[in-house]
């Protein structure tokens, strides 16, 4: 016997010790001001040892009533006599768990509770497309949760725990949890809320099908808000169709229409294409290129280059495009990031489509000049406009600013990046042209923000139906711009799909832009443009949250 000491002591240890996996807790997600957007709760899951069941049918009936699971399902699970462990219902809500714990039936000893981590999103639907969600096993399925899975979910280790004769664990020890790193987003809950509210109002007014808003710091590429509709609640992702979970701001491709005229204008200025005082005859209201007729919404007269953009004349733009040529226009579209991924730190970003010059055909130059025969995402359009806003640098959009340890130590800081794509003089001239769009006679007077000049461009494009391979009757209405025009605090795009009653970007999307910008500026304490020259001051400090933001660097 004594010679078997090793074997016997191992057997003894096996009887009172057990190796157990650490519980894995995902890291938390915060907004830029440290407000929790994703957390973990400890909840009970109902388990059962079917081998201990005495009267399964009666137990199944009682459990199904208490746990809210169908009788058949429970009976099937607890009738598997050869098993010692089956899940009955995972991640119970508090009230159900209490009821089940209080249950004293003949077979109540055969059921038990296992504590599991449940991911919760305390702000509900807010920024749900950006944050993403997890499945029942806490594995990421979308958004930041998915992109930063390696940081948020650390691999757990095995720990030794003591158990008694009945197998009940006595002591867990200290390190029972493996906690992932925390993520700090660039978005601000307040700005996100403002964007979502205004988008909802706009969508309701125009009975629209879908919509997106992205707000970005044009200098750093930090995404301040990203809203999409239709929405879903990440706490109950199974309750909606997968379609509602699409982050349209980075995944939905559309023909941009007139917002793409920025590329045309940038190329024209950079290439010094036009002699001073060049004018374009748009009196006919239409132009024929490659056997297809392109028209303006209203007939315009003879327009200068700036007026072509201000009035968003298709005829004038096509005339400029014809002088420029497809290759040069393509080159600047590429330079401004179209047909390429922006590299935003979110999964499933769409690249878009830009026809190569060798594959261009008769109408391509005319179509591309006015934003057709090209498919883009809202984030691509916003990035291009941000390059104009910041003086010519194409920023790298991102939604995460820091990765921190569970104890709060900084692990990684994501620095802003960017590539110069336009000369500062070009960007300055474009800013002025885009400011004219929101002035009297422009297409986006409804985007005007009280006290601050807005630079931007409207877009209205028919939606292409891939099923019928034709343009449908629906439109994509958009407005993209930045404000204050001189030293922008925010760049923003509003895209609304399938509006009813009106379709123009200047009517449907521009007011949403204005509403968001005005509320955001009140929230951020952004002063009026004329404050310095008129020697004005705030009578009282407004909403204080903006003070802690990093707005004063420009």
């Amino acid at each position: 016997m004594l010679l078997d000491h090793k074997k016997l002591s191992e057997k003894g240890e096996d009887q009172y010790q057990r190796l157990r996996e650490q519980d894995i807790r995902r890291g938390l997600i915060f907004d830029r001001q440290g407000r929790e957007l994703a957390m973990n709760l400890d909840v009970d899951s109902l388990v059962c040892d079917p081998s201990k069941m005495v009267k399964p049918k009666r137990a199944a009936l009682q459990i199904s009533n208490l746990a809210g699971v169908s009788y058949g399902e429970v009976l099937k699970k607890i009738s598997e006599r050869e098993k010692h462990f089956v899940w009955i219902k995972r991640k119970l809500d508090g009230a159900t768990a209490l009821k089940l714990r209080a249950w004293k039936g003949e077979d109540s000893k055969a059921i038990d509770f296992v504590t599991e981590a449940k991911r919760v999103y305390p702000k509900g639907t807010l920024a749900s497309h950006l944050i993403g969600f997890v499945d029942l096993d806490n594995a990421a399925r979308a958004g930041v949760e998915n992109y930063y899975e390696k940081d948020l979910r650390q691999k757990g280790e095995k720990i030794l725990v003591e158990k008694d004769a009945s197998g009940k664990v006595l002591s867990h020890g200290a390190e029972t949890e493996s906690r992932g790193d925390n993520i700090v987003l660039t978005i601000d809950e307040g700005l996100q809320f403002i964007a979502e509210k205004a988008l909802d109002e706009g969508m309701e007014k125009w009975r629209a099908e879908a919509g997106s808003v992205i707000m970005m710091d044009p200098y750093t590429g930090e995404i301040l808000a990203m809203a999409n509709r239709p929405l879903f609640d990440p706490n109950r992702p199974g309750a909606v169709r997968p379609e509602a979970m699409r982050n349209r701001a980075i995944m939905d491709l559309f023909e941009p229409g007139s917002t793409f005229k920025l590329v045309l204008a940038a190329a024209t200025i950079e290439e010094n294409l036009l002699p001073p005082g060049a004018r374009f005859d748009c009196t006919s209201g239409s132009i024929q290129v490659g056997g297809r007729r392109f028209s303006d919404v209203h007939k315009n007269g003879v327009l200068a280059f700036e007026e072509v953009i201000k009035k968003s004349s298709n005829v004038g733009s096509i005339q400029i495009g014809l002088r420029l040529g497809y290759e040069r226009l393509y080159k600047y579209a590429k330079k401004l990031g179209f047909g390429e991924l922006t590299g935003i730190d979110l999964p499933s970003e769409a690249k878009g489509r830009l026809t190569r010059p060798e594959k261009a055909w008769g109408t391509s130059i005319a179509a591309l000049s006015i934003g057709y025969e090209v498919s883009v995402t809202p984030i691509q359009v916003l990035r291009a406009y941000s390059a104009v806003a910041n003086g010519g640098v194409l920023p790298a959009p991102h939604v995460v600013s820091e990765v921190r340890s569970p104890e709060g130590e900084l692990i990684r800081k994501l620095e802003p990046g960017g590539t110069r794509v336009l000369k500062p003089e070009t960007a300055a001239r474009l800013k002025k042209i885009l400011s004219m769009v929101t002035e009297e006679g422009g297409t986006a007077t409804l985007a005007t923000v009280q006290g601050n000049k807005v630079s931007g461009k409207t877009g209205t494009a028919r939606l292409y139906d891939p099923k019928t391979r034709r343009y449908s009757g629906d439109y994509m209405s958009s407005f993209v711009g930045f404000v204050p025009a001189e030293k922008p605090k925010i760049a923003m795009i509003v895209v609304i799909k399938g509006a009813k009653g009106a379709v123009y970007g200047g009517v449907v999307a521009a007011p949403v832009f204005r509403d968001i910008a005005e509320r955001a500026f009140a929230y951020m304490n952004v002063p009026r443009d004329d404050m310095a020259e008129n020697n004005l001051v705030f009578l009282e400090k407004g909403y204080g949250a903006g003070e802690t933001l990093r707005w004063d660097k420009n």
Partner: protein, 110 residues
């Protein structure tokens, strides 16, 4: 004869003592083991209590985060307090009276 009896007595006493020590030792070990087990049960119970408190803390933090959400705050502010979200058109500005600026002179080259 007497020496033999004494040896026998001594041997008997030693045996009794040895048995006693052995029995006491076994009881001691068993009782120590039982005590350790008891402490482990207590520790387990305390850990469960700690787990319960931590769970409650997490629940409270999640409730706090939900209550502090701007959406919830706005609903309460608009619903029961009659407050509104900051409206830029209602921000007041006043002209700053800078007064007389003292004349500054310097020999430093500009």
């Amino acid at each position: 004869m007497r020496a033999g009896m004494r040896d026998s007595m001594l041997s008997y006493t030693v045996k009794v003592l040895a048995c006693g020590i052995l029995i006491l030792g076994v009881f001691g070990i068993v009782s120590l083991r039982a005590e350790i087990r008891h402490v482990e049960y207590e520790l387990g119970a305390l850990e469960r209590e700690l787990g319960g408190v931590l769970k409650e803390r997490k629940d409270i933090m999640a409730d706090r985060a939900a209550l502090l959400s701007i959406h919830a705050v706005e609903q309460r502010a608009e619903g029961s307090l009659g407050l509104g979200f900051p409206d830029r058109s209602k921000v007041f500005y006043v002209r700053r009276d800078v007064g007389d600026i003292p004349y500054e002179a310097s020999f430093r080259q500009r």
